[in-house]
């Protein structure tokens, strides 16, 4: 019965979605407050209806209703409760419903924020923004109704009262907490980007193209950025720990699909500051936020249409076509509105010099958008190459790894130069006071790095030297900013330096939160440099008692073990690990053999990871023969991943900076 209620709710939400769009349009056009209010209520109604449908599906999971097709596909009776619930986004139909539900949550929050806001001023911007939100919702509602071929309604039952004895269950690889929370984190990040996009469209439609729409959606954008940062990292961290290939990022199409909106969101977070401060880039901001939103949909198109092969191996289905169609239609709509409002989009100010903070921001935007296009080009290369000369080609990881270095280093330089260069035009005084010392420190540390690497016998370390010099320059520049500001505050308020620092950040959370993010970026770069540039990999076939060497580490296989668990068997070997000949402990990499998953037997790598400060030693095994104790051979792959811990630390600092920045209230804006 619950499934039928859920299905009915989905079909009713088609009506409430149409109602919201219709009444908001008419009400805003004719200035009829009652119609507008009715439209807002319809947005709330959509939320309630979609919540009922989502609740019904979760109920189906929890009660093991195996007459429901979706439940059978992703859940099973033996699945732990947590994974029964996270099965909601285990596959396409359910994840579309979940995406839709999050969209309706965002819609309700916008209504609520507007309600709070309009108590003080009368204002229609948020109501205008609700229209594009409702349109996006309606698109997803139609997808989950199941009336479109290729996607079925997640609440659908098997025909003729059929029922499965048990469900197929979720893949064991996905039954880990970080995999349970990685997809919804990304979804939340993508969906939050819908709100600034909706406000941009609302601003165009209402003609209020000042900075209001940006201020009103600022926290949404930052929230989206923070959540995407976390979501992307969770995915990388999961891959690192579970997949046994020793890496965390492989430029897979699906990874790229999550990374491109992040880059565009980062660009947008910067360019809005130019509009707020200098009243420039109005058109660019609207285009950028539209692009960022469209890329969240494009990601789904790329991964679900089957046009690109990916390790994520999603099903090929028609849904990609619908996403592409929606992207084209909505982009056309935005372009139409831009043409309609063309005159009001002219900038009041112009760039005064190429060496100014404005220019630094603009260069940052060009680089970020450029990087996005490079990654898009590489991701779509199989299709593009086939279209150009009829021969399908694709680019390997190396393409991306090489191509991001130069734009990446320029961007890194800007994270330090942007905050210290003066507005309008750089002066000799500004350069001397702000740049000289950080530049000198940066160059000096670059020299030291070069010497250190040369001593260790590393040649061709140009990029590492550059990365360190630029990174240290950024840290020095930003620390100096903190130092000067804090000292000034402390002097003015007649208090200690630390108090001054605290006051400084409290008074301008957005700015200093941003600087903390910049420091996080430097840390992240250093981690990437170490773990991508200097990792070691050794493979060897070992018998009991035999050893292998990886850099300074020696591994000796000394024992094997086998253990039965509820739905899998764990077999592995014990290694004695020595560093430079000195015994430092044991490591126990293993394999898990799942035989009760409902998906057939599955043999997975369970790598062993040992942290040495920020460096990791990582061992993965091939399958273990039954005669391992009596001369059977085990295949061992061992990695040394220097500075990989720094990657996670860098991201943590970035997230911390984001949290500081988001704490600032949207209304006031006191960048000094």
């Amino acid at each position: 019965m619950t499934a039928e209620i859920g299905q009915a709710a989905i079909f009713l939400s088609v009506l409430s979605g149409l109602w919201a769009i219709g009444f908001l349009c008419i009400g805003l056009r004719t200035r009829n407050q009652n119609a507008v209010r009715s439209g807002r209520n319809a947005v709330v109604a959509t939320f309630i209806l979609v919540s009922i449908a989502t609740g019904a599906l979760i109920y189906g999971f929890v009660t093991d209703d195996f007459s429901m097709r979706y439940v059978v596909e992703v859940s099973s009776a033996a699945q732990p409760l947590l994974y029964k619930i996270t099965a909601l986004w285990g596959r396409m139909s359910g994840s579309l419903l979940f995406w839709l539900w999050l969209l309706t949550v965002a819609g309700v929050i916008v209504v609520w924020q507007n309600h709070r806001h309009t108590k003080e001023t009368s204002d229609t911007l948020s109501d205008y923004a609700l229209i594009p939100m409702a349109v996006v919702q309606l698109f997803f509602i139609i997808l989950v109704t199941g009336i479109i071929e290729g996607v079925y309604n997640p609440l659908e039952r098997f025909p003729n009262g059929q029922m499965a004895p048990d469900g197929a269950g979720m893949n064991p690889l996905l039954q880990t907490p970080s995999m349970a929370f990685h997809p919804p984190t990304l979804y939340i990040g993508w969906i939050s980007l819908t709100v600034p996009f909706a406000f941009a469209v609302g601003a165009l439609a209402s003609g209020r193209i000042g900075s209001d729409w940006i201020l009103r959606s600022r926290r949404w954008t930052l929230f989206s950025w923070i959540i995407l940062t976390i979501g992307i990292t969770l995915g990388g961290n999961w891959a690192y720990r579970e997949l046994g290939w020793g890496g965390y990022w492989a430029w897979d199409p699906v990874e790229n699909a999550s990374f491109m909106p992040w880059l565009l969101c980062t660009a947008y977070l910067h360019s809005v500051m130019i509009q707020e401060k200098r009243n420039m880039l109005k058109l660019w901001n609207i285009l950028l936020v539209t692009l960022a939103f469209q890329f969240t949909l494009l990601g789904t198109f790329i991964t679900r249409s089957g046009i690109i092969s990916s390790v994520h191996a999603f099903a090929q289905s028609d849904i990609g076509g619908y996403f592409l169609g929606f992207i084209l239609v909505s982009t056309t709509g935005v372009i139409g509105l831009i043409i309609y409002r063309w005159k009001r989009l002219k900038s009041a100010n112009r760039l005064e010099s190429l060496l100014s903070r404005e220019s630094a921001f603009i260069l940052n935007n060009w680089l970020l958008v450029g990087l996005t296009l490079i990654i898009l080009w590489g991701t779509l290369w199989p299709i593009i190459s086939e279209a150009i000369n009829g021969q399908k080609s694709s680019v390997p990881e190396a393409f991306f790894n090489q191509i991001v270095i130069i734009p990446g280093l320029l961007l890194l330089f800007l994270t330090g130069a942007g905050p210290i260069i003066s507005w309008k035009k750089i002066t000799a005084n500004n350069f001397q006071r702000m740049f000289l010392l950080p530049l000198a420190i940066g160059l000096a540390s670059g020299g030291l790095t070069w010497g250190f690497l040369a001593l260790k016998g590393t040649t061709s370390a140009l990029y590492s030297v550059l990365c360190v010099s630029v990174g240290v320059f950024v840290i020095a520049a930003i620390s100096a900013e903190f130092y000067r500001g804090a000292k000034l505050r402390a002097k003015r308020q007649n208090t200690s330096f630390l108090n001054g620092l605290n006051l400084l950040i409290q008074r301008n959370k957005r700015r200093y939160g941003g600087y903390i993010i910049h420091i996080g970026i430097v840390i992240l770069y250093i981690g990437i440099m170490g773990s991508k540039g200097y990792f070691l990999l050794e493979s060897k076939s070992l018998r009991m008692g035999e050893s292998m060497e990886v850099g300074q580490f020696q591994l000796t296989m000394k024992d094997s073990f086998e253990k039965e668990f509820e739905n899998y068997r764990r077999t592995g070997v014990v290694f004695d690990v020595a560093k430079n000949g000195k015994q430092i402990g044991t490591m126990e990499p293993a394999r898990h053999f799942y035989y009760k998953t409902g998906q057939g037997e599955q043999d997975t790598i369970e790598s062993a990871i040992r942290h040495f400060g920020v460096n990791d030693f990582y061992i993965a095994l091939g399958s273990i023969p039954p005669n391992v104790k009596t001369g059977g051979v085990v295949n061992v792959q061992a990695y040394y991943n220097p500075l990989i811990g720094v990657v996670w630390i860098g991201v943590a600092v970035m997230v911390l900076g984001g949290i500081v920045a988001i704490a600032e209230k949207s209304e006031h804006n006191n960048d000094s």
Binding site: M92, A164, V311, L354, L363, W381, P407
Partner: protein, 148 residues
């Protein structure tokens, strides 16, 4: 003055754009790998001798052999439509999860036309049930159901 500045901005933009385009072109030229089905590669083989190729197909039934002592995997990729096969050797890397005869496989490596052999540097397996099965599957496809 104003006009001159504008020109400067446009010039800077063009330089940046050209730089990015150059990076992409050089990058693609240097790394792009051509994609084949086994049937096409076998016919076209001589032209691709000693070059990087990608092949997409099925792991031929009964062809895969894992030599643990030498840390070596050998198998044949079969075309999805014809009987054409290409031999593959994959050394010093662990066998990917889900590697079973008959399954889908994606191989990247250097092609040796004389031996019809790819020395693989990258191997990817796809298992329909791993992350996402075909959504259009009918309910009776994979699991057996009882009727009420």
């Amino acid at each position: 003055m104003q006009k001159q500045r504008r020109l400067k901005v446009i010039a800077a933009g063009i330089i940046l754009l050209c730089g990015i385009a150059l990076l992409v072109i050089v990058g693609i030229k240097r790394t792009s790998v051509r994609h084949f089905t086994p049937a096409v590669l076998v016919v076209d083989g001589d032209r691709m001798d000693n070059q990087q190729v990608q092949v997409d197909g099925l792991i031929a039934e009964g062809s895969s052999k894992w030599d643990a002592v030498n840390f070596k995997l050998t198998f044949a990729v079969q075309d999805r439509e014809t009987a054409a096969t290409v031999n593959v050797i994959y050394k010093d890397r662990l066998k990917p999860d889900n590697f079973t005869d008959g399954g889908s496989v994606f191989v990247e490596g250097k092609y040796d036309a004389a031996q019809n052999l790819i020395v693989a540097s990258k191997l990817m397996t796809k298992c329909a049930s791993k992350y996402e099965g075909a959504e259009s599957a009918t309910p009776t496809d994979e699991t057996s159901y009882i009727s009420e």
